[in-house]
Each structure stands twice: as structure tokens, then as C-alpha cells.
Amino acid sequence: MQIFPLHPFRPQGDIPALRQQVRDLVAQHENRWSVLQRANCWFSFDAEFSKALGAAGLLGMTWPKQYGGHERTMLERYVVLEELLAAGAPAGLHWIADRQTGALLVRYGTEAQREKYLPGMARGEIYACIGLSEPNSGSDLASVRTSARRTQEGWRVNGQKVWTSGAHKSHAALTLLRTEEGSERQQGLSQLMIDLDTPGITIRPIIDMTGTHHFNEIFFDDVLLPLDALVGVEGQGWKQVTAELALERSGPERYLSSHILLVALIDAIGPEPTPEIAQQIGRLTAEMWTLRQMSMSTAAKLDAGEDPIVEAAIVKDLGNAYEQALPRLVQAAVDVDLAGSSALSQLLAYYLLAAPSFSLRGGTPEVLRGIIAKGLGLR
């Protein structure tokens, strides 16, 4: 038996036309994007571009039409994502809503929640973030303590989330909370969809070491929410979150978020590289190409209704190893002025500093390898 049985990626429909649609849309908007805006692009923001993607039917692609979706396949959606990433298109505002929050609402949300959020998400106008980590709950997510208590007026939420990417730009946070007093670990957790303009919520920025504001702290101080903020089944939050994380880990952003650095390297080197640089480019290309095959195979599994948790962990772990090695290999192989203004200079300087983030978002290598080891029956 193969350790990682493969699913061939054979999307239906006119895929070249879909690619061209994304490329044309990027070409219409890219003039206003700076080099650094295109770096790590699923974390950078352009509201007009998000709306344009929505208007073109390229958000909420797999969701039901009645909620503003387009009922296309996961594989078609995959093609759109990889084109956006390869082009370095700033898609951060809608990324989380499109990738997982919307998908989770389709699966577990109430009719009212779907009607409230999904059409706006599919238009690229409603953005979401994910409230998971807390000051004392990082890799050990099951230790979350922020609480929601059922009262006669509704849910009363108290506590703090941290490392919440994009909270300052988001309209709502799908938040994992302890809804059963005295419960332990994976028991007694539930997900609530929290509108971030609710009184009692404070969002504070955390500036990361690249100087960028993605991270936030969210404080909940006696925040009162309607009872229908509950998403899915009370007490089933852990199971719901785990399914969501498979969506979070398997996508092409796990090996393409720094693709434009490879592009800049190739363009800076030109058509006649030395043998050494040609080998370096060849090696990086081989890794990128292989990751794409693996990522596409995982997407095909999702499309077939499987839950490829181990495969997603493999893609993410290999992907972040590749993405962390990329700037270091470029730095070692090519003499780049890190204070310079060329695209390669700016991108290399940025990615050297951003690379540590690749192994924290979506799970550290140790966490991911633990998931794989479990899949292999070792624990």
C-alpha cells in the first residue's frame, strides 16, 4: 500500500479559460500593487480586488447558489487559488472567509447564519477571521479557556484570543469557546460566529517582526451575543474545528505564498544562468512542482468527499520546509543587496524575515508530524 494514495487531479470544465479569467482580472488590477503588497499575498489587502473577484464569480465558488455561491467544484476553486498566489495577488481580505469560514457555515450554519454572511462573503465584501489561539493555548488548542455561558439574554462571552490574523479588517470571527462550565480538553467546546462590532470587544494590534500588522489580540469583556450565534452543535466545536483545519492546511498557499520570490530570482538571473545557479533554480523548481502534484492530489481527495487530514499535514509540512528554505537558498547563492530597491532585493529582504511565520500558521512541523505519526499508527 502506498503511504499516501494519490488521487489524480482531473477537473471538469474549461480550466484554461478559468485560468485566463483570473489572469485577465489580475492584469486589470496589478498596476496599483507594490512589490511588498504582492509578497505573502494571501495576507495582504486590496478591497477593490476582493470585490472584483466576487463580481467575477470567483469567491464562494463551491457554495450553493441560493447563498450567492456558484456550485463549482473544489478543483476549479483550486485553480483560481493557485493562479492568485502565483501572481502575488493581494487576496488576504477575503481569503479566510472564502477558504474556511464560509465553507463551515455551509456545512454547519443555521439558515439565518448562511443568509446573513454567505452572500456578502461571496461578493468579497464580508471578511472573517478565526478565533482559536489564546495566551495559554497555542499548539495545545484543546486547552482554550475563553468562555461562553448560556444566559436568558443570550451567550455571555469572556476571555481573550490572540494571534488572530486579520481581525482588525474582519466583520466577524468564528470563535472556539468553552460553552460547558468545568469541561476539560476537547469536551464542552462550541463555535460561535461573533460580529466584531458587538459592544465589549476590543481588538489590539500585534506588529510582527517584518513590521506588518496581521496579528491581533481580541478581548471579550462580558460580550452579549444572541443564542443563534452558535454554529453547528453545542459541544461539538472540536470536531468542527478539526475539519476546518484540514481545509486550512491543504491548500496551495502552503507552497506558493512566496512563489514570487522564485519568479524574481529567475527574472534577475536571466536566460543564461551559470551551472551553479541553474542547479539551484532547478532544485527549487523540482520541489515546487512536486508539492503542486501533492497539493492537487489532496484537493482531489477533498473533492471526492474524503477527509485527507494526514495528506494535508504532509503537504503543509513539506510546503513550509520548502518555503522557509527558499529565501535562505537565494541569499546563499546570489549576491543580493538586502537594502536595495530591485524587486529581488525587496522580496528577499521581506521573505528572510517572514519565513519563520510559515511554520507557525496552520501548525508547527512538530504538530504536523505528530498528526502524520498518528496516521501511521505510531501513537
Binding site: I3, Q279, I281, A286, R292, Q293, M294, M296
Partner: protein
């Protein structure tokens, strides 16, 4: 999986499992008799009429069982001869690549080579053999073409590329076997009062190993799919380079997990790891394929790389998986 492939796999699984550990003298007659050599030859020409996906399935199983006989080379040699309209001679027909090193060359009845777009078939007597031994302890002989070819014809195939694909396919099987041995070992070996598998450091190392095996499987499958629609130059270069990384990362883990037992001739691990180490060099090493791929990418340019990568899988749409 097609019905034909399922039957082929069942037959190869049984035969190769039987031949695991057998010598060339014991293994080769049975491999020859099974008729793998005609796998890619069309049914019209009296062959099996298979595709590259079938070849991958068979070579993976050959690697999985460390079969000590040439399985890959005759398949490619017969396919190229059939394409060129040259009748294949009886016996072992194998390949001579750019290095001249030919597995089991001393046993060959004829050899196929391709140079400057021309395929040549040399019969015994028209080539010399200088004997050598591979890392896996198999004949690895230097074949020199000294006489006139028995036949020649124009040929567009990249013989080293096809050989490289074969090594990736075989290696995907060998990686799985080395991995299975390591898993079995850590699940049974007790130290410090518990099985090695209970140690986090061991779990993490084996998880890394599985990632490398998965990468090679994905690369091999992508090459087979590309070969079935036509040009696979890009895919094969990437896959053979990626295999180099996988061998680099995974074989040390396999040995580390086993301690001294894995370093003995008696224990089976070396059948796989020695072949993996040898195959990394055969039909072009990391540097050879990385440079070939890097030059190709440099000409495409940064954006051209992505367009090429996407177009190469989009051409598979509508093809049977």
C-alpha cells in the same frame, strides 16, 4: 485502475514477491518469461499494449521487492524498437545511457542506444563489456559500442530521461519497503522499557520519511501521466531531482531507526537503501537534472515557469486517470 492493469499488478505482485532475494540467474528467466519487456509494445505488434501508468505500477513493485534482474531497461528498449519499426532480437535487450554503465550488461544479448536523434541496436559482438559492480552488488558494466549496429532508425526519445523515470518508479517502491521495515522495527524493538515507536523523536523522524516517500510517489505518478500524453521532459527532470532529495533525506532515517541491525548484510534493509543510493546516480544525478531543469526554466522566465507548470497539467484534462 483499468482491468488490464489490475491483472498486470496481480501477476507482478506475485512474481516479484517470489523473486525477492533471488539471484539474477534465478530471477531473470522468470521475469523474461512473464513478458514485461513487451509492456509498451502495441497489441498489433504482439505486445501487451500497456501505457506508462502500467509501467509505473510494474516498476514500483520491482523496486518494492528489490528484484535482482533488469525489468525497466527491456521495457524501454522494446518500446523504442517497436516505435522505430525494428524487430527486437531474442533474449535480454537493454539500454546504454550516456554514462555507458549498464545494469546486467554482461548478460545482454543486444543493447539499444540513442545518440543525435538516431536509435541504434547493437547485437552481442558489436559491443564490449567491462565488468563492474553497483552499490547494490549487482553487475554494473561499462558497455562500449565497437561494431556496426544491426539496425538503426530516427528516434526522438530521450533515453536517459526514460531511464530516469524508471529509477523514480523503482525508487518509489524501494522507499516504501525501507519505510515498512523501519515501522515494523520501531513497533517491536523495546528499549528503555518501551517500544521505540513510543518515542516522539522516532515518530517525528518516521513522519518525515513518509513525506519523502509520498513526494516520490506523487512525482512518479505525474511523470507517468505526462508520458502518456506525450512530452515529459520537464516532469522527469523535476522528478529525478526530487528523488535525489528524497534519498538524501529518507535513507539516513531508515538506517538511524534500525541501529546496527540495519547495517548488516543479513538484514533486508540494505537491499533497498543500497539500490536507492545507486539509483540516485543512474541516468543522471541531482546536478545533471537540476541544471537541465534550471536552464529550461531560465529560458521560460519567472512568469513563464508558472504558465508552463499549469499548462502541463491542464493538458491532462479529459484524459483517463
Amino acid at each position: 485502475m483499468s482491468e488490464n492493469r489490475a491483472l498486470l499488478v496481480e501477476m507482478a505482485e506475485g512474481l516479484f514477491a517470489d523473486l525477492a532475494g533471488a539471484s539474477f540467474e534465478a530471477a531473470w528467466p522468470r521475469v523474461a518469461e512473464a513478458g514485461f519487456a513487451s509492456l509498451l509494445v502495441s497489441a498489433d505488434q504482439g505486445g501487451f499494449g500497456g501505457d506508462w501508468g502500467d509501467v509505473l505500477a510494474v516498476l514500483r513493485l520491482a523496486g518494492l521487492n528489490a528484484v535482482a534482474a533488469p525489468v525497466a531497461e527491456p521495457i524501454i528498449a522494446h518500446a523504442l524498437l517497436a516505435q522505430a519499426g525494428i524487430a527486437a532480437p531474442a533474449g535480454l535487450v537493454t539500454l546504454v545511457g550516456r554514462s555507458g554503465r549498464t545494469p546486467f550488461g554482461r548478460h545482454a544479448d543486444a543493447v539499444v542506444s540513442v545518440a543525435d536523434g538516431v536509435l541504434s541496436l547493437h547485437a552481442r559482438g558489436a559491443f564490449t563489456v567491462e565488468e563492474g559492480t553497483s552499490l547494490a552488488g549487482e553487475p554494473s558494466d561499462l558497455v562500449k559500442l565497437t561494431g556496426a549496429p544491426a539496425a538503426s532508425a530516427p528516434c526522438a526519445a530521450d533515453l536517459d530521461g526514460l531511464g530516469a523515470f524508471a529509477r523514480v518508479a523503482q525508487a518509489s517502491g524501494a522507499l516504501e519497503s525501507a519505510f515498512t521495515l523501519a515501522i515494523d522495527h520501531v513497533n517491536t524493538r523495546v528499549q528503555f522499557g518501551r517500544t521505540l515507536a513510543k518515542f516522539q523523536a522516532v515518530q517525528q523522524a518516521l513522519a518525515e520519511f513518509s513525506e519523502e516517500a509520498a513526494a516520490v510517489d506523487a512525482a512518479a505518478a505525474a511523470c507517468a501521466a505526462a508520458l502518456d500524453v506525450g512530452d515529459a521532459g520537464f516532469e522527469i527532470a523535476a522528478a529525478k531531482m526530487r528523488l535525489g532529495l528524497a534519498v538524501d533525506r529518507a535513507t539516513p532515517i531508515a538506517h538511524r531507526m534500525h541501529g546496527a541491525i540495519g547495517f548488516t548484510m543479513e538484514y533486508a534493509l540494505n537491499r533497498y537503501t543500497r539500490r536507492l543510493m545507486a539509483w540516485r546516480s543512474e541516468f543522471g544525478n541531482d546536478a545533471f537534472w537540476a541544471e537541465a531543469l534550471g536552464r529550461r526554466v531560465a529560458v521560460l522566465g519567472g512568469h513563464g515557469l508558472w504558465r508552463e507548470v499549469a499548462a502541463r497539467t491542464d493538458r491532462l484534462i479529459g484524459q483517463e486517470a
